[in-house]
């Protein structure tokens, strides 16, 4: 939870912080690496479904925190070593269908 405050401060339109080339990499990562557990179509697998409908009521900061810190006691790992907070927010927006 230590980073929640930092995240809330960062809660700006995240897409602006991500270079287009990096956005392509993140999209690829969501499709392929997240897809390993959540499915290429994000309908779920070992991990929960991550479709827009499934995430309709999830807030972007909460999703970004799960991406960064994982979920204790489950197979969801913390991606903080590989992603910045802005990138995690970009992915949260992307999953919710809110990325331009």
């Amino acid at each position: 939870m230590r980073s929640l405050a930092a995240l809330l401060l960062l809660a700006l339109p995240a897409a602006a912080d991500i270079a287009p080339g990096r956005a392509t990499e993140l999209e690829h990562m969501v499709l392929q690496d997240c897809g390993s557990c959540h499915g290429l179509t994000r309908k779920g697998g070992l991990g929960r479904p991550l479709t827009e409908e499934a995430l309709a009521h999830a807030d972007r900061e909460g999703l970004a925190l799960i991406i960064l810190d994982g979920v204790q006691g489950t197979a969801m790992p913390p991606w903080r070593p590989l992603l910045t907070e802005a990138e995690a927010l970009w992915i949260a927006d992307y999953l919710k269908g809110e990325t331009p």
């Binding site: 290429l40 309908k43 790992p77 590989l82």
Partner: protein
């Protein structure tokens, strides 16, 4: 054979030769993003066809009929597809669950079983028609489904740790609980002699062994204390145990959360050595007829493959075949290994003696590679 002789006899020069294809050196490569398969010829080191329309293959595997004529493809979306390798066509398909993870074919080739996540359980189908034969619900996601001799299958449940043996040789299936493996089994594998069903645990340290030769055997947990020192690292891809290596009287196992291979004596289940490796191992596969195992790794360290000598437990070669190496499949006698590089859109063929690349085959985001020789291997 009767038919083959007749065909050969009737063969006119117009279509002789080309029309008769042997399947013994063929294989299928899963193209995970496009829901298609590439048919490959091992001897020609070439792609010879593509089969499309198999749904979501983001986590997919397949198995072969005993005559190597048909493949049964298990897709993420619950699709079970029967593919005719000779005509390169889908001959039957059923979407039998919402979400599935893998399957197996019975030793006699009559039944195909599928392991499902949603709803959790195992469904068994007639291999000819894909008609449902049995539906065995489970209290959660089923994993580690393997065929066991005598028209049986074994599986484990991720959510509860329970392990079951299903006997489908009689009129009605007989399902036996073998006990509890532990917390969150992530995959399981059967030794090549069908003696031991090994279940890897994610929710706690350890591997649990079930003796399938002894009806009264109790599960034995081992490797319960590896990596006590230091913090575990994040696991960015679940290890797979289907290619778990059994070599030199040892199991070569992935240390979950560690960049290590653990070597365990097959008889005593004592840890005999650990090998530090490049990343979190995903597949550890024995090169047939050799002392070596080949290892690939979880993202983001997945551009590398290492070769480890099972006698010295030393890394003897480090290769960088391509971006996002997902799978390795050996020629049945070990001369070559075929490696899928998802992000380079290629399958790479390496000579295992020189460890040099000898060919490249284009494929769209390839993942699993399956040679037809698997038709004759127990537990695959």
């Amino acid at each position: 054979m009767k038919r083959l002789c007749l065909l050969a006899f009737l063969a006119t020069p117009l279509w002789a030769g080309d029309e008769l294809t042997a399947t013994g050196d063929l294989g299928l490569v899963i193209e995970r993003a496009t829901g298609s398969l590439v048919l490959v010829d091992r001897s020609d080191r070439a792609a010879v066809g593509r089969i499309e329309g198999l749904g979501d293959l983001s986590h997919a595997s397949l198995t072969y009929s005993p005559d190597e004529h048909f493949a049964y493809v298990f897709g993420r979306d619950g699709g079970l597809t029967k593919v005719d390798i000779l005509t390169r066509a889908v001959v039957a398909r059923t979407v039998q669950a919402g979400n599935s993870i893998g399957g197996a074919i019975s030793d006699d080739g009559r039944l195909v079983a599928v392991s499902n996540y949603e709803p959790g359980g195992v469904k068994v189908f007639d291999a000819d028609t894909l008609e449902l034969v049995a539906d065995i619900p489970a209290a959660g996601k089923t994993i580690g489904l393997v065929d066991v001799p005598g028209r049986r299958f074994a599986w484990a449940v991720w959510d509860t740790g329970e392990v079951f043996l299903g006997d489908f040789s009689g009129k009605a299936p007989v399902i036996t609980s073998l006990g509890n493996a532990g917390k969150n089994p992530f995959d399981a594998v059967l030794t090549d002699d069908a003696h031991t069903y090994l279940v890897g645990l994610f929710g706690e340290k350890g591997v649990t062994a079930f003796d399938l030769w002894d009806d009264a055997a109790q599960p034995v947990k081992f490797l319960t204390d590896y990596g006590k020192e230091g913090e575990d690292m994040p696991v960015y891809k679940m290890p797979h145990l289907q290619g778990w290596a059994f070599t030199e009287g040892q199991y070569a196992l992935p240390a979950v959360g560690r960049h290590k291979i653990l070597w365990v004596d097959r008889d005593s289940q004592e840890t005999t050595a650990t090998t530090p490796v490049h990343g979190q191992p995903v597949f550890i596969i024995a090169q047939p007829a050799s002392p070596f195992v080949w290892v690939n790794f979880a993202t983001p360290l997945n551009d590398t493959v290492q070769v480890v000598d099972s006698r010295s437990h030393e890394v003897v070669a480090t290769l960088t075949p391509g971006k996002a190496v997902l799978h390795m499949e050996f020629a049945p006698r070990g001369a070559e290994v075929w490696i899928s590089s998802r992000d380079d859109n290629k399958v790479l063929v390496y000579d295992t003696k020189t460890r040099e690349k000898v060919a490249e085959i284009p494929a769209e985001a390839p993942s699993g590679i399956f040679f037809t020789a698997r038709a004759h291997q127990t537990g695959l």
